[in-house]
């Protein structure tokens, strides 16, 4: 276990370095200029001065300068006052990328974890109901709902929820953030596709497990049905769900562009799209580095949980 963690942590900087380099090259190749207002071009001498001030006149300098500041190497060498400085945003001029992430990440994480919990609740219940009696009307109904949940895009679900509960019924506020009532609809919208996937995983897991020999033995011994389902079968059927939860959680907590946009959630999800559209290099690099770090950590966490839940599993 310790070896696994240590090995993953050693791999991490290498993966992040590769991610940084690839993202930087792609982002630099986006045409256009992040400092340019779309409506007008200032005279060339002024644009040149602006590019120089932000070190955007030379990719190589920018690459190393940013890498040094972001990783804290410049700080260790005493060349920069702060470690892990992701630089000023090029479009949101009054905010540093660190401030933007500090403001948005807690929001996205709260919303994402809430959504994952909700998804587990809905998904497990639906999956178990379906898995116990495959082919029954309850199974078909949950399968149908799951199919809709996976295939309907969240901007449709989100807008529909907003129109019904926000505008027509007036039970939740539209836009804004800070109260529990603000989080319900976005969390639900974010949760539905995950819930649908979890329901399907659980259902198939349950069907397999309920056919297994140990279940037949348990039933022959007269173990109550409820006990068999919840205590024995579900435990094993949950393993594929658990491995899915790693990337799913990483995805949910880094925010969703669509959900954040529709519900005006101040998370970091919109930056993945908007920063690229405006070629905000520092912000692109910042969100990508944070996302990759979270992805790696959540995968590691799931692997550890995996081992802990089922000690038979050997992880390479």
């Amino acid at each position: 276990m310790i070896r696994l963690i240590v090995r993953r942590l050693i791999q991490m900087p290498i993966i992040l370095g590769a991610v940084y380099t690839i993202t930087f090259s792609l982002a630099w190749l986006i045409p256009g200029n992040p400092l340019e207002n779309p409506a007008r071009r200032p005279p060339p001498e002024i644009m040149q001065a602006m590019l120089q001030q932000y070190r955007l006149d030379d990719p190589w300098t920018f690459y190393w300068d940013y890498l040094g500041k972001a990783t804290g190497v410049s700080w260790l060498l005493g060349r920069h006052p702060r470690p892990f400085d992701l630089g000023p945003s090029l479009t949101h001029q009054d905010w540093t990328v660190n401030e933007i992430l500090a403001a948005g990440l807690p929001v996205s994480i709260t919303l994402g974890l809430g959504a994952i919990l909700l998804a587990c609740g809905i998904g497990l219940v639906a999956g178990v109901i379906g898995g116990i009696k495959p082919g029954s009307w309850a199974d078909l109904a949950t399968l149908g709902v799951a199919l809709v949940g996976i295939s309907l895009p969240s901007f449709v679900i989100g807008t529909a929820l907003l129109v019904v509960f926000g505008l027509l019924l007036g039970v939740v506020p539209i836009g804004g953030w800070g109260r529990l009532s603000h989080t319900i609809l976005p969390a639900l919208t974010l949760a539905l596709p995950f819930a649908a996937y979890i329901a399907r995983l659980t259902r198939f897991g349950m069907i397999d497990e309920l056919r297994a020999d140990y279940v037949r033995t348990a039933r022959a011994k007269g173990v109550p049905r409820r006990h068999i389902v919840l205590k024995h079968a579900l435990k094993n059927a949950f393993l594929p769900v658990l491995s899915y939860l790693g990337p799913a959680t990483a995805m949910a907590v880094t925010g969703s562009f669509v959900v954040e946009k529709i519900f005006a959630v101040p998370g970091i999800g919109t930056h993945f799209v908007n920063a690229v559209l405006s070629k905000d290099l520092t912000l692109i690099m910042g969100v990508v580095l944070v996302y990759s770090t979270l992805l790696i950590l959540f995968n590691l966490l799931v692997d550890v949980l995996y081992r802990w839940v089922d000690p038979r599993i050997e992880l390479g």
Binding site: M50, G166, P266
Partner: protein, 652 residues
């Protein structure tokens, strides 16, 4: 069950995230800005949503009267020398910063110096180049920085910081000697211009000329006694602390550049001199303003507290407005905008007589609407279309050859005139954009600049369009409906470039293609590109006809006509005519304002009757949502500068 442990932990962690955010109570005026506020540093602003905040937080020397855009005193009165080269501003003695310190001429000098300094990376630096020596100073500093960066690598690391400081001191000296800006005393600012500029005061009313408070901007760390001294007589009378004691600025010893962090624009640090102070600003959540207790004319302020909330998705913003949590939407560009405007027309048509009578009796349109019975199904009165200070157009590539080296048919003004006269603009705004924007034949929105009368451009006239094209030798010789030259070659396929970020330009381009094919017998090929690629193509001249739009920056025809100057950075058309250059130059050196405007009028007439480097379509519009009678104080002047302190919400 083991598995419940992590879930339980997660749940309790979530529960631990207590929603005790200090969400302020609903403000007196709640509005959704036209996008996230990028900066509250007036010198670095370039977006309309930022400037809207600038006029609430800061006060310039003068301001526009936003009903007619004449100039009135704000923080200062002014005098002009006889040759209109020297302006002397006397600052109101009762003007103060929000921390109680007096507002002085040094504040403006400091702010304007920041804007001219290349280290600030200000978009609008060139607006300050009307001040004598400003451009020369900008160039001097740019070159000095390049020279410093080249040398500093050879210096001993310990010598770099003193060298950067020496360069910085030399920069201050250079500024004082080269640039025509002087604080004669605490309350008098003298500005010397490079040449007489009829619109100089209009520039001074613009947001980038607002003052900033140096101790806040630089984050001075000073002792109690110094703070007291600053509050009593202003920062100019105390020695500034060393760079080590300034939180928000550093001198980079490797590049010699002044590096500014923008922590000072946050509520705890920001000091302002306008009607409001910033009480709250959270990223992507919103920005709250509170009345400035030190403002010299409190009776001007209509709302005590203003909230500008962030809703990125306009669809959601419209729903928030409909649910009553927002009083004013400044942007309504949703798919169903035209439908909502049609509902507004239906309402207006039903009560046309009563509205006309009320207007004749002297009430405003909003008052007239508010007095009518509430709208029924299929009608509405809370959406409003305001013509703006900008124009939608298509640029002709005027270069003699195209980017691919082929001869350019649009280098010939007669061809351009034919393409302009064959476009039915009225049909475009009625059936394609469906917004009924005011159709124009010239670039400067008519009636938007005091004292300037717009000339007439080319009218819609397909007959003369065909004749014009024929006169260049392009005639349909074989009766196939397409024009050929005398060698029988077809007119080159017209390369029509547009951006795909909104469906608007695709729709207009499709309609234009049909009109030109039908009226002129030419083939047109549409080329839609994502906006970044579109801009690259436009800049490099890789198009024959390309979509464009322009908003004026200041109240003078040159803010539009400079686009046609040979070599201008925004001259996407590659247009060059010595006659136009000469007219613009003559206007620039004409001391008499009336005569100057007439020269500019001649210039615009020539441009849009004879040379037509662009096909102008319509005035751009801004669509707002608010309940008439409930929200008041908005300006209807095309420049659409809305001062937040004038806006009031009634019947809450």
């Amino acid at each position: 069950m083991k598995l419940l442990v992590p879930f339980g932990l997660l749940l309790s962690a979530l529960a631990a995230v207590v929603y005790l955010d200090d969400t302020p109570p609903r403000a007196d005026l709640v509005f959704v800005n036209s996008g996230e506020v990028f900066t509250l540093d007036p010198q670095r602003m370039s977006w309309i949503q930022d400037f809207r905040m600038a006029y609430a937080l800061y006060e310039g020397l003068v301001r526009w009267n936003n009903a007619d855009f004449s100039i009135e005193p704000a923080a200062a009165e002014w005098q002009t020398s006889a040759d209109r080269l020297i302006y002397t501003f006397s600052i109101r003695p009762d003007a103060r910063w929000s921390d109680g310190a007096p507002l002085t001429a040094h504040d403006y000098l400091y702010a304007w110096k920041r804007a001219i300094l290349p280290d600030t990376a200000a978009d609008y630096s060139n607006m300050f180049f009307v001040i004598a020596g400003a451009r020369a100073f900008f160039r001097w500093r740019t070159e000095a920085l390049e020279a410093f960066a080249a040398q500093s690598a050879d210096l001993d690391p310990e010598d770099r910081a003193p060298a950067a400081l020496a360069l910085w001191k030399e920069t201050q000296r250079q500024f004082d000697t080269i640039v025509g800006l002087k604080a004669l005393d605490d309350s008098t600012l003298e500005v010397r211009l490079d040449r007489s500029r009829a619109y100089f005061l209009d520039l001074v009313a613009f947001g980038v000329f607002c003052p900033v408070y140096r101790p806040a901007v630089e984050g001075w760390r000073v002792d109690q006694a110094t703070t007291e001294a600053i509050r009593l007589s202003g920062w100019a009378h105390v020695p500034p602390p060393a760079f080590a004691d300034r939180r928000f600025v550093t001198l980079n010893s490797a590049t010699g550049r002044l590096e500014q962090s923008h922590g000072w624009t946050k509520p705890r640090h920001l000091v302002t001199n306008g009607p409001y102070v910033l009480s709250h600003w959270r990223y992507k959540r919103g920005l709250h303003l509170r009345r400035n207790e030190h403002y010299h004319s409190p009776q001007r302020i209509r709302s005590d507290r203003i909230a500008c909330i962030s809703i990125e998705d306009i669809n959601t913003a419209v729903m928030a407005f409909a649910s009553g949590s927002v009083d004013w939407l400044t942007d309504v560009s949703v798919d169903y905008q035209a439908d909502m405007l049609a509902e507004r027309s239906a309402y207006e048509n039903r009560y046309a007589d009563r509205i006309r009578a009320a207007l004749a009796a002297g009430s405003t349109l909003d008052e007239a609407l508010a007095a009518l019975p509430p709208p029924q199904k299929g009608e509405r009165r809370n959406i409003h279309l305001f013509p703006a200070f900008g124009t939608d157009f298509y640029s002709f590539n005027c270069r003699p050859t195209l980017a691919n080296g082929r001869p350019n048919p649009f280098a010939d003004a007669r061809v351009r005139r034919a393409f302009v006269a064959s476009v039915n603009k009225k049909m475009l705004v009625e059936t394609v954009t469906r917004l009924n924007e005011p159709v124009v034949t010239t670039l400067i929105p008519p009636g938007s600049i005091p004292g300037y009368r717009s000339p007439e451009g080319l009218p819609f006239d397909p007959e003369s369009a065909r004749a014009e094209l024929e006169s260049t030798g392009w005639v349909d010789r074989d009766g196939d409906g397409l024009v050929e030259n005398d060698q029988g070659e077809l007119f080159p396929i017209v390369d029509l470039l547009y951006s795909t970020n909104t469906p608007r330009y695709k729709n207009i381009s499709l309609a234009l293609r049909d009109m030109w094919q039908r009226q002129l017998g030419v083939r047109v090929e549409l080329r839609g590109k994502e906006s970044k690629f579109f801009k690259e193509d436009l800049k490099s001249g890789h198009f024959m006809i390309g979509r464009g739009r322009w908003y004026g920056d200041y109240g003078d025809p040159t803010t539009f006509l400079d686009l046609f100057k040979t070599g201008d950075g925004n001259n996407d058309r590659g247009y060059s005519n010595p006659y136009v250059d000469e007219l613009l130059e003559r206007a620039a050196s004409e001391p008499d304002p009336q005569r100057r405007l007439r020269i500019l009028q001649d210039c615009e007439r020539f441009l849009f009757q004879e040379d037509v480097p662009m096909l102008v379509l319509c005035q751009l519009v801004q669509v707002y949502m608010y309940e008439p009678g409930r929200l008041s104080g908005l300006s209807r002047h095309p420049r659409l500068t809305q001062y937040l302190w004038q806006i009031e919400v009634r019947d809450r």
